[in-house]
Symmetry: C2
Subunit: 304 residues, 2 copies
């Protein structure tokens, strides 16, 4: 809580390793969280999302704000190189003691990444970072889940999606609080914005907060001030309209259910690796069906 970077790093690493003492520490920190504005930033590889994040860090630093960054790597077997390059671009902030950057990678555990991200956000929040940016590569359910833990979610698009914009699924419309059309100097920026507005109009009910669309050219630092303004407006919307309470409850629902899943999954796997070996052999040879086995394993893991 004094902001010690080494202590924070160590805690995040231990949490990632599911160290039980680290969990106790996190629980003790929890009442001291909730001060940071948590901003999720997601977008396709190539959307310039990392450059945008970089610019946003600089902007907040000029405002005197301390910034924590969690760069989530979904461990795509294919995209590793590109992501690494993105991360290197953030290096310029490494020497700045007002910026704390941590990378998180999935550890192979189902649902483990959103839990680890949520844990790390709480640590950075308790350390006193006023803005916590969570950057993910937006390519799947993991990322949508992670974005659910943010106060404000920024979805970064680029012109040239063309007709494909209709492929933007309900999931992304649900989680976006602010849309960015980055690389807005490219052909098609207007079309992309118009298509997005069209999609918004198709929504059955007009929401209390209609996600604004901000055009940026992050590489030239264009539009960043407006983006920060819209993010701030969204934060204000949350607090003034009493929407924060609802959002925090939704987030709590997601985090609590994830932790419950995770705890049970770990306990069941432990049981299966020990006393449950016979049951696995029965499932493998089709003598017991997996649903029945899950029932048995749950009951057994519970009573251990």
């Amino acid at each position: 809580m004094a902001g010690n970077v080494r202590a924070g790093s160590r805690l995040i690493r231990l949490l990632d390793d599911r160290d039980p003492i680290a969990t106790e520490v996190l629980r003790a920190l929890y009442p001291h969280t909730g001060r940071a504005q948590v901003i999720g930033i997601t977008g396709n590889p190539g959307s310039g999302k990392s450059t945008l994040t970089n610019r946003l860090i600089s902007l907040y630093r000029r405002q005197g704000l301390r910034v924590g960054v969690i760069a989530v790597d979904p461990s795509s077997p294919y995209s590793g190189g590109a992501i690494l390059g993105d991360r290197i671009r953030m290096m310029e902030h490494f020497a700045d003691s007002g910026v704390f950057i941590r990378s998180l990678a999935t550890r192979g555990a189902l649902g483990g990444l959103s839990r680890a991200t949520s844990d790390a956000v709480h640590v950075l929040d308790a350390m006193g970072y006023q803005r916590v940016l969570v950057e993910t590569v937006g390519v799947g359910q993991d990322e949508i889940d992670i974005m659910r833990t943010a106060d404000t979610t920024v979805v970064v698009l680029v012109p040239g999606l063309g007709d494909d914009i209709q492929a933007i699924k309900a999931g992304i419309l649900e989680i976006a609080d602010v849309f960015v059309v980055n690389k807005a100097d490219l052909d098609g920026a207007e079309r992309t914005e118009a298509d997005l507005r069209g999609l918004q109009m198709l929504m059955t009910a007009m929401p209390a907060w209609l996600p604004p669309i901000v055009r940026t050219v992050a590489a030239r630092n264009d539009g960043l001030v407006e983006l920060a303004e819209q993010i701030a407006k969204h934060a204000q919307h949350l607090t003034t309209n009493g929407n924060a309470e609802q959002r925090y409850r939704q987030r709590a629902r997601f985090v609590v259910a994830s932790l419950a899943r995770d705890a049970v999954g770990v306990a069941v796997e432990r049981w299966l690796d020990g006393a449950g070996q016979n049951l696995l052999a029965e499932v493998a040879s089709r003598r017991t069906d997996p649903y029945e086995a899950a029932h048995t394993a749950l009951a057994a893991a519970r009573s251990e």
Copy 2:
């Protein structure tokens, strides 16, 4: 089990909706599964994976085999269009009664996609399809999890990864049984293959099955026969060396743990949406920490 396509489709849809009666039906079908060879095919968008799948369907059809296909859409908010295009390419098989194609999309539930895929595989298996191809866009943990349910996993790469091949993470080396270097007429195919072999050599222990690397040009139907041969060889390896048992147990472990997680997650969410509302409010206002709340919610959901 008589192979009725409408009944099969309906069952898969009901399973996707978590219909309890559908689950009972699946459980009754389970002893009749395990006959199909389940082949996972994963690769980056642009790897030509769908064309390859398409060619493989044709090849198996010429061999007189009935083929089930599960095309998994990870509901990327961005890639929708491309995937749709890929799927349309498979349309040529729609008129063929020996081919059954189902698309599955994530329903927003954590871990729900791998459960739904596993369920659908069991249905197609029980329906008598001798080959079940599970095609995913390989971009994250979801896909790796899904591939764990396959007997043989084919990972499709393309030349030109260059140095990035080192970014291929342990996860993909772990799950790959057969590597394909598709578009092998492009520059760099040899380099990609050499890099892959280099990575394999780095593995600490020589595995009982060293994943072969097959070069293909799917668009020209080149290399497909060899691919099918390597897939068949892997199936034989599983049965002759007693490795099938180990693999089936690993798969059972994954499926049983996923089902347990899923069951608990659904129960906890239901409780949180009802009697647990107060608890969520406490977490939202930081009076209770999420770990404590997960513990409470688990106990409460259990006793309901």
